[in-house]
């Protein structure tokens, strides 16, 4: 009997079925594992951060403005006596930014495609 194009022999059916089951199982497992891996990594470390913040044995205080060493810095006779955003703060603790878009434009001009 001549076989049609889509007629499967028993042997090839088992092969196809086996392969697709394998792919489905392995694929599903991998997807689940990689999602779990990412959640574990970020989630566990984040939980630990919130845990430390709420643990009085690690951090007795939870508000920046209550930090005694911050108060000392901004005290009337302190190093930054003018307070936050004062003149001295601006020279030491603030900055300015530079337009860097020309480098991106130059790349695009060269024919390099970026995601942005």
């Amino acid at each position: 009997m001549k076989k049609g194009r889509w007629d499967l022999s028993r042997r090839s059916f088992i092969k196809v079925a086996g392969l697709s089951c394998g792919y489905a199982l392995v694929g599903a497992r991998m997807a689940r594992e990689s999602v779990a891996a990412v959640l574990d990594l970020v989630g566990l470390r984040q939980q630990s951060v919130y845990g430390a913040d709420a643990n009085p044995k690690i951090y007795a205080l939870r508000k920046s403005q209550e930090n005694p060493m911050v108060k000392k810095l901004y005290a009337k006779d302190g190093f930054l006596a003018e307070g936050p955003c004062g003149h001295h703060s601006h020279t030491l603790l603030h900055t300015h930014y530079k337009d860097k878009s020309m480098f991106i434009k130059a790349l695009k001009k060269k024919g390099i495609e970026l995601a942005m």
Binding site: V26, L44, R45, S48, A54, I58, K63, M69, L92, L93
Partner: protein, 443 residues
């Protein structure tokens, strides 16, 4: 407080004379990542690659490109991947932490220079450790993922011979004072003139380079505050020198980060507010683990210690900087009290806590009304908010941006998750098959 200072003098630091320092140019594996020992200076920044793909290890699977926010890592002629240009790379290192083959390598490592400075009795070497480091370093020594090891971090740094254990958590608190005050100024002025609203956070070096490169028109929205480490550098060499009686020229500041982009930030030409380089060296969590192992210090059995308080004491608000949503929560704890004059009874502002993506929230502040904020991590998410701000359709007051999904705890300089390698066995097999059959190796 004085107790901590006493403790410091009582502790014998390790004798590092037996530690063989790697020569410049040497390639060393640090926690599974290949690093090249190379300590560039500010003048090298121009065309400097912080990350590069090792083409002998790359299997062309494309996982890196999937995690690259700007599309800077692209397929080359032979099918492997490569970073097209340093200008397109924000140095976040998400390609590196997701590569199943360890093929993405670091090109800048100050580890040897830091060892040399620690060995030199004439140099005052000080630490500037980021919050997120203390939630991941333990993993390099077999401790469970996410274990808090803050006390051991201070302890190990002291034993490595650092002269002062100063901490970015202290300047995270300072950042809140500066950035919170700036936000109040912008809100009071109605966001007019050169101080528009919303205000964006400015702690994350990947985000800053991204904004300068792709959204330069939004630069006025960026907080003018330096990041916590870029505040600690100049404060160490001015205020710190004054408080300890040390010569600022002899102070060598080491930034210890969960990040690769912080190496770029440390080299920015404008980082010289103290009259010298504010940040002398930047290493990350993996490199610190490498140094500890090289010095042979038994990390897990160390006692918990405090930092040197004067530039080291911190609050829970400061440690939150390590996670996405944390800078916002810390800032709100300040802004709430500063605006309303009332005490914030419960400092936990859970509404702003988020894992990934974009989180927009309104926080009711007495005497003001709703403070409208957004927390975002991942630069492609940030770009969506940038588009809203650019179009003028955003009514937000304050936006926190972090480049790495989930924030710094998931940074490019953190120890890698072993399960990334295990979970991608299948992908690895497919990539090998593909490489064998489809890659056109240029002979």
């Amino acid at each position: 407080m004085s107790e901590a200072i006493k403790k410091k003098s009582a502790i014998q630091s390790m004798d590092l004379s037996g530690v063989q320092v790697d020569a410049s140019g040497a390639v060393r594996k640090m926690e599974g990542v290949k690093n090249t020992i190379f300590a560039p200076g500010v003048n090298d920044l121009g065309n400097l690659y912080f990350l590069e793909v090792d083409h002998t290890l790359c299997q062309g699977c494309g996982e890196c490109a999937h995690h690259c926010p700007t599309g800077a890592i692209q397929e080359t002629e032979d099918g492997t991947r490569s970073i097209v240009d340093p200008a397109a790379c924000m140095n976040c290192g998400q390609c590196l932490t997701h590569c199943p083959y360890g093929a993405v390598t670091e090109r800048v490592s100050y580890v040897s220079e830091v060892f040399e400075k620690l060995k030199d009795p004439d140099t005052v070497v000080v630490t500037m450790t980021a919050p997120a480091v203390r939630y991941a370093l333990g993993e390099c020594f077999g401790m469970p993922m996410g274990t808090y090891v803050g006390g051991k971090v201070h302890s190990v740094l002291r034993r490595l011979g650092f002269d002062y254990i100063w901490d970015n958590e202290w300047t995270a608190d300072v950042t809140i004072m500066e950035e919170g005050t700036e936000l109040l100024e912008r809100v009071t002025q109605g966001g007019k003139g050169d101080k528009p609203l919303p205000q964006f956070t400015s702690c994350c070096p990947g985000w800053i380079k991204f904004c300068e490169s792709f959204y330069p028109d939004l630069i006025p929205h960026l907080s003018t505050c330096r990041s916590p480490v870029a505040m600690l550098g100049p404060l160490a060499k001015t205020y710190g020198a004054e408080q300890t009686g040390k010569d600022p020229k002899k102070i060598y500041t080491v930034s210890i980060m969960p990040c690769i982009a912080k190496k770029y930030e440390g080299l920015r030409p404008e980082m010289n507010a103290s009259g010298q380089r504010d940040i002398d060296a930047t290493i990350n969590t993996r490199e610190l683990a490498y140094m500890i192992k090289k010095a042979g210090i038994p990390f897990t059995s160390l006692p918990d210690e405090e930092p040197d308080p004067i530039l080291g004491m911190s609050t829970g608000a400061a440690t939150l900087f390590g996670t996405s949503g944390g800078v916002m929560e810390a800032a709100l704890r300040f802004a709430y009290e500063a605006i309303s004059g009332k005490t914030l009874v419960d400092p936990s502002i859970k509404a702003v806590r988020t894992g990934k993506g974009i989180n927009k929230v309104e926080v009711e502040v007495p005497g003001f009304g709703p403070v409208r904020i957004a927390v975002v991590s991942g630069l492609q998410n940030a770009a969506k908010l940038c588009e809203e701000v650019r179009a003028g359709t955003s009514n937000l007051h304050f936006i926190e941006v972090m480049t790495c999904p989930g924030g710094c705890v998931n940074g490019g300089g953190q120890p890698m998750d072993d399960s990334i390698l295990e979970a991608s066995l299948f992908k690895k097999m497919m990539a090998r098959v593909n490489k064998r059959f489809t890659l056109r190796k240029v002979a």
